[in-house]
């Protein structure tokens, strides 16, 4: 058995919805059957074998080669297995993912990990806006699991995030943790304006002082016992976060506008 490998044949002009291509949905299918699966692209539906060269036979170990940012919904509602992506991914990477592993060697578009409820998503690169956020109509962003981003992330990281852990080694944009409901976001780099806007609950870990708007208020400096526990749980992760052992923070809480009890912890 070798990894089922989908190599993009040419750069598409329109976006392609790859949601039918997950390990669980492809399990037990022959190359011919996989090739016949139809993918939405613009107003057309394209056969999978018209879009990708298909090789290998182990659908539980799915590889995208030569991937491009027009390929949306990779790992959509994925239930098991592993997807490795070489190249960039489009929007909605790991959308409503439930279990399994996605490793991206490249950049991802918007709404990565939106609605994700389990598994891990490891992005060796940067992501667009709305990482771990909820799409309109959904009430919860990420609902569980782990996301690691080695690069930067855009605006609105974790908007309405409900559970789970997002660790970003680079910088993030504006409105980080907006309307966050629960869960943990760590950002090693800088964050943009209006961090924690409308935050209800949840924890945002920062390593430098951001600009804070007036309805996030200082709760003083503290040594918090849970941080040891948290960093211990990070210790095995393939991330720079694994090497951190700090538990002294400045604690800001809010957003008071939203009667929020979220916290922004800044390591001192």
């Amino acid at each position: 058995m070798s990894a089922l490998t989908l190599t993009l044949k040419s750069i598409p002009q329109q976006r392609i919805d790859c949601s039918p291509l997950t390990p669980d949905k492809l399990a037990g299918k022959s190359v011919a059957e996989i090739g016949a699966i139809e993918l939405q692209s613009g107003k057309l539906t394209l056969r999978t074998d018209a879009v990708f060269d298909i090789s290998g036979d182990d659908a539980s170990d799915l590889v995208f080669m030569n991937c491009r940012d027009k390929l949306d919904y990779i790992g959509n509602a994925m239930q098991s297995g592993r997807i490795i992506i070489h190249g960039d991914a489009g929007w909605y990477l790991g959308f409503h993912m439930k279990k399994g592993n996605i490793v991206l060697h490249g950049h991802a578009g918007g709404f990565a990990a939106s609605g994700m409820s389990g598994g891990t998503l490891h992005i060796h690169g940067s992501v667009g806006d709305y990482l771990a956020s909820a799409i309109p109509g959904d009430r919860k962003g990420m609902k569980g699991g782990l996301v690691i981003v080695t690069g930067n992330a855009g605006d609105r990281v974790g908007d309405q995030m409900r559970r789970g852990i997002v660790l970003i080694e680079g910088n993030v944009g504006a409105y980080c943790a907006s309307r966050m409901l629960a869960g943990t976001i760590g950002v090693m780099g800088s964050v943009g304006d209006y961090v924690g806007y409308g935050m209800r609950r949840g924890t945002l870990l920062l390593f430098s002082q951001p600009r804070l708007h007036a309805t996030l208020q200082d709760c003083g400096s503290h040594t918090l016992p849970f941080l040891k526990l948290m960093f211990k749980s990070f210790s095995g992760l393939p991330s720079k976060f694994a090497a951190i052992h700090l538990n002294r923070v400045q604690r800001y809480a809010g957003d008071l506008a939203n009667d929020g009890k979220g916290e922004i912890l800044i390591f001192m």
Binding site: A182, T184, H222, P225, F226, L229, M230, K261
Partner: protein, 298 residues
């Protein structure tokens, strides 16, 4: 069977199925971990009136605890899961939540997951914070010294309670010395506690009483001062009997503890007045476990 001049009765300890759980209590230092644990395991000698039987199993150094602080492991046993859960919550709330710097964690992986700090979170009046790491949920409850940190759940397993043996000696000091030696040895055995004061109980009981309202009363057959007026089980030279009761997570744990305890008591031997080791049972009708002393010591 005779060990070092001590007669091992051909009898058995009769023990019951119980529910058991373990809690790891950590604190800024061992002293405050003990303060919490002592309070939590206080008044927990017998399920008859305390609800649970509880005790400190052992000390844990900082490499053994989830949060890297020193701590102790506490075992609690009860006759049923409902009462165990209720007692655990009550004791957590009054003894650990209240104790400066103390934190509580699950001491048993697997088993049935029962509430450890789950409902204590409401003390936080809405300011409590839930965190999930490594598949476990923790609660952070703001309190006056900072934050009370507790794991949400711990494990509950089927356990064994009421393992025991009796030390029959020529004098009270000699009986006590033998029991102290036994407890010292038994504490090194994991997964067990000896719930009575100092691990030793002097008020062994029998089933029933002349008083209708009582279901148990003093075990007159082993009371030395009644030798002449009751159907005694004591030979004339026995002046004092003490019992060690053992609760363990498995029957094997109880067996190991029993063996360690009897061996230590017998170490003192007949020359120190230790004459006989016996055990309490109900004729094998009530308990599902039987610990035959001679088998254990063989």
């Amino acid at each position: 069977m005779i060990i070092n001049g001590v007669v091992i009765d051909d009898t058995f300890a009769e023990a019951f199925g119980m529910r058991g759980t373990r809690v790891i209590i950590t604190a800024q230092n061992l002293k405050w971990a003990y303060n919490a644990a002592n309070a939590m395991t206080g008044f927990a000698t017998s399920v008859i009136a305390c609800g649970v039987e509880a005790g400190i199993e052992r000390e844990l150094d900082s490499s053994e605890t989830p949060d890297g602080r020193p701590g102790v492991a506490v075992l609690l046993f009860a006759m049923g899961s409902a009462v165990l859960m209720k007692q655990l919550e009550t004791r957590m709330g009054q003894c650990v939540l209240t104790c400066p710097t103390a934190a509580a964690f699950s001491g048993i992986e697997g088993g049935d997951r029962i509430n450890l700090g789950k409902n204590l979170r409401f003390f936080g009046d809405g300011f409590q914070i839930s965190k999930q790491f490594g598949g476990k949920r923790y609660w952070r409850v703001p309190v006056m010294d900072g934050e009370f940190l507790t794991e949400e759940k711990t494990g509950m397993v089927r356990a064994v309670g009421g393992g025991n043996f009796l030390v029959l000696a020529e004098s009270q000091p000699q009986a006590l010395a033998a029991c102290e030696a036994a407890i010292e040895a038994m504490k090194k055995v994991p997964n067990v506690i000896m719930p009575f004061p100092g691990g030793v109980v002097r008020s062994g009981s029998k089933v029933g009483s002349k008083y209708k309202t009582l279901i148990a009363s003093t075990n007159d057959a082993f009371c030395p001062t009644l030798k002449g007026i009751t159907k005694t089980d004591l030979s004339p030279e026995i002046e004092s009997v003490m019992e060690i009761v053992i609760d363990g997570l498995t029957d094997e744990d109880v067996r190991k503890a029993t063996r360690a305890g009897i061996a230590a008591a017998c170490e003192l031997g007949a020359k120190n007045g230790i004459k006989r080791i016996s055990a309490g049972n109900y004729g094998g009708k009530l308990g599902q476990f039987q610990f035959h002393l001679r088998e254990i010591m063989a």
